[in-house]
C-alpha cells in the first residue's frame, strides 16, 4: 500500500517512473500494451510507404523516403527497447503482433496507390500521429517519454516533408494536382479515425489520464487535427472531401461530417484492405529471418567460447 502511495505521489509530482521503480501490475500491463502497439505501428507503418521506395519519381525523393522509412524502423527500435524495460522480450512482442493479439494503428491497413499517397501520409498521417504523440513526451513512464521526445522531433520533420510533396504536386501539372486531391480524398477519413472512437465509445480514458498516457480525449485531439489541417489544405488549393466541413464562428472550430464508424471497426477487426498483407509481410520477414538470427547467435557463442578458451 505504501509503495502504491509513493508511486501515485511521484506521478502527481510529474516525476518519471523508471523501470527499476515499483509499479502496479496494471500500470505495467497497460504500458506494455500501449508502447508495444505504438512500436508495432512504426514497424507495420514502414510497409505502405516502403511500397513506393523503388518507384519514387526522383533520386532526391527516393533518398528522402528511404530515410523516412528507416526513421520509422528506428522509432520501432526505441519503443521496443522502452517496452523491454517492462520485462517482456522482443520475441514475445513480435509473437503478439503476429498472432493478432497485439494491435497496430489501423491507418496502415490502407494501400498506397499513387505517389501522392506518400505526400498525404506524411502530411495527414504523421500530422495526426504528432497530435496524438506530443503529449506523450510528458507521460509518466520515463523510457516511453524519452523515446517520444526523439520520435516527435523526427515526425514533425516527416510531416513537413510530406506537406512539401503535396505542395510540389499542387504546383505541378493538372494531373499531379488531381493525384494530390485523390490522395487527400482517400486518406482524409482514415486519418480522422486515427484518434480512435468517439469519447462515448472509448475505454480506459480515465485511468490513462491519471497516468498521463492521455491528456486530451479522442474527440478533442481529432478536433485539433481538423482545425490545424483545414487551413493547410486551403493553402494547397485542395478540397477536403467533407461537404459538412464548415468553420463555426461560435465554437471557433470546424464542424465536420459523420465518420463511417462501421469502416473503422471493420478495419480494426482485421478486415481492412491490407490487414492480411501487412501482417503476412511482417510474419514472413520474421520467419525468413529465423536462420539469420540463429546464425548470429551461434557465431557469437562460438566467438565467446574461443575467447574463454584462449584466456582460460
Amino acid at each position: 500500500k505504501n509503495l502504491e502511495e509513493i508511486f501515485e505521489a511521484k506521478i502527481a509530482r510529474d516525476e518519471k517512473i523508471e523501470p527499476k521503480d515499483w509499479m502496479p501490475e496494471k500500470y505495467r500491463k497497460t504500458h506494455i500494451r500501449q508502447i508495444s502497439q505504438h512500436a508495432h505501428s512504426e514497424i507495420v507503418g514502414m510497409l505502405p510507404e516502403g511500397n513506393w521506395i523503388t518507384r519514387a519519381p526522383s533520386l532526391r525523393r527516393k533518398v528522402a523516403l528511404l530515410a523516412k522509412v528507416q526513421d520509422e524502423a528506428g522509432h520501432g527500435l526505441y519503443l521496443y527497447s522502452a517496452c523491454e524495460t517492462l520485462g517482456i522480450s522482443r520475441e514475445e512482442l513480435y509473437e503478439q503482433l503476429h498472432s493478432g493479439k497485439a494491435k497496430y494503428s489501423s491507418i496502415f491497413n490502407y494501400p498506397t496507390l499513387t505517389w501522392a499517397d506518400i505526400g498525404a501520409i506524411g502530411w495527414l498521417v504523421d500530422g495526426a500521429a504528432i497530435i496524438n504523440q506530443v503529449p506523450l513526451c510528458n507521460t509518466s513512464f520515463g523510457p516511453y517519454a524519452r523515446a517520444m521526445v526523439r520520435v516527435c522531433k523526427e515526425e514533425s520533420f516527416h510531416q513537413r516533408q510530406g506537406y512539401e510533396i503535396m505542395m510540389t504536386l499542387c504546383n505541378g501539372t493538372q494531373e499531379q494536382k488531381d493525384m494530390a486531391q485523390d490522395a487527400l480524398n482517400r486518406w482524409w477519413w482514415p486519418s480522422l479515425m486515427m484518434f480512435g472512437p468517439t469519447d462515448e465509445e472509448s475505454t480506459h480514458t480515465a485511468q490513462s489520464m491519471k497516468w498521463k498516457l492521455k491528456r486530451k480525449t479522442n474527440d478533442e485531439l481529432r478536433q485539433q487535427f481538423i482545425d490545424q489541417t483545414v487551413p493547410q489544405a486551403d493553402i494547397l488549393g485542395l478540397k477536403i472531401p467533407d461537404d459538412n466541413l464548415k468553420y463555426n464562428n461560435d465554437t471557433g472550430h470546424y464542424d465536420f461530417g459523420e465518420i463511417d464508424w462501421s469502416e473503422f471497426w471493420q478495419v480494426v477487426k482485421g478486415h481492412g484492405k491490407c490487414n492480411k498483407e501487412r501482417l503476412n509481410a511482417r510474419k514472413n520477414a520474421w520467419e525468413n529471418g529465423k536462420w539469420v538470427r540463429e546464425a548470429a547467435m551461434a557465431y557469437a557463442d562460438k566467438q565467446h567460447q574461443r575467447k574463454t578458451k584462449q584466456t582460460g
Binding site: 514497424i43 518507384r55 528507416q70 524502423a73 525468413n288
Partner: protein
C-alpha cells in the same frame, strides 16, 4: 579523352551504386531483424547519395540540360553500365550479404585508387564516399563470417550464395575500350592494379568464415557493355515507372 568517354566511364561506377541501392531498397521493412533492416537501409542511402553525386557531375558535363533524374531514370536498359553482380536478386539474406561483400571490397579499393584521379570532381566524390564504404565492407564482412561460421544451415546457404555469385566477381575488373582511354588519361583508374589484392582479401575472409572458395574458371560478364541479365528489365520497369508514365514533371 572526350567528354563522352568520361561520362561513359562514370556510368561504369555510378550505375553500380544506383542498381545496388535499388536492390537494397526493395528490402526496406523486410529484414530479419530491425537492426539489419536499418543497417542495409543505411548502405542503400549511402549508395544512392553517391549515385546522386556522380550523376550531378555527369549532368554538369552534358550540354543537353540532362538532370540527375534524367540520367537515373530515362536511359534504356542497354545504356546502363552496372555489373551483373549488383542486379542479382535478393534471393535470401545470404545472397544479399555475399553480393554486398563482393561489391564492397571492390568498391573500397576502387575509391582508394580514385582518390588519386586527375579529375578533381571524382576525387572529391571518392574522398567523401570512402569512409562510408569502409563501414559497408566491415558490416558485410562481419555478416559473411557470422553466416558462414554460424549454424550448418547458414553455412550451407552462404556457400550456395558464394558459389552462385562468384561468377560475377571477375566482371568488376573488366575495362571497356572506352574506359581504357579514360584510364590512360589519368582520370580513370585501372582496377586490374588491385585485382590480386581483391581476390586475396575475399578468399581470406571466406576461408575465415569456413566457406570454400570456388574454383570455377568460367565467369560472366556483359553488364558493363550494357548486356544485362534478364533481371534488369524488371528492375528498370519498376524504377522508371513514374518518370516514364508522367514525363516532364517536377516531383
Amino acid at each position: 579523352m572526350t567528354k563522352q568517354n568520361l561520362i561513359h566511364y562514370i556510368y561504369g561506377i555510378a550505375d553500380n551504386a544506383l542498381i545496388l541501392g535499388q536492390r537494397l531498397s526493395e528490402l526496406c521493412g523486410h529484414g530479419p531483424t530491425l537492426e539489419t533492416d536499418i543497417a542495409l537501409t543505411n548502405i542503400a542511402l549511402d549508395l544512392l547519395g553517391q549515385t546522386r553525386s556522380y550523376y550531378q557531375y555527369i549532368s554538369n558535363l552534358t550540354t543537353d540540360g540532362s538532370t540527375e533524374d534524367d540520367v537515373a531514370f530515362l536511359r534504356k536498359e542497354r545504356q546502363y553500365r552496372n555489373v551483373l553482380l549488383v542486379e542479382q536478386p535478393n534471393t535470401d539474406f545470404a545472397y544479399i550479404i555475399v553480393r554486398q561483400y563482393f561489391y564492397d571490397v571492390f568498391h573500397y579499393m576502387l575509391l582508394q585508387e580514385l582518390q588519386l584521379s586527375k579529375d578533381v570532381n571524382l576525387t572529391a566524390i571518392a574522398d567523401k564516399s570512402i569512409k562510408e564504404v569502409g563501414y559497408h565492407q566491415q558490416f558485410s564482412g562481419d555478416w559473411v563470417k557470422r553466416l558462414g561460421d554460424g549454424t550448418s544451415e547458414s553455412h550451407d546457404k552462404t556457400q550456395q550464395a558464394v558459389n552462385d555469385l562468384w561468377v560475377f566477381t571477375e566482371e568488376l575488373f573488366h575495362l571497356s575500350n572506352e574506359d581504357k582511354i579514360v584510364v590512360d588519361s589519368g582520370h580513370g583508374i585501372n582496377p586490374k592494379s588491385f585485382k590480386d589484392q581483391y581476390f586475396n582479401k575475399i578468399s581470406t575472409l571466406l576461408e575465415d568464415a569456413t566457406i570454400k572458395v570456388p574454383e570455377s574458371k568460367y565467369f560472366q560478364k556483359g553488364g558493363k557493355d550494357g548486356i544485362h541479365s534478364e533481371h534488369m528489365g524488371y528492375i528498370l520497369a519498376e524504377m522508371q515507372y513514374m518518370q516514364r508514365t508522367y514525363p516532364d514533371m517536377k516531383w
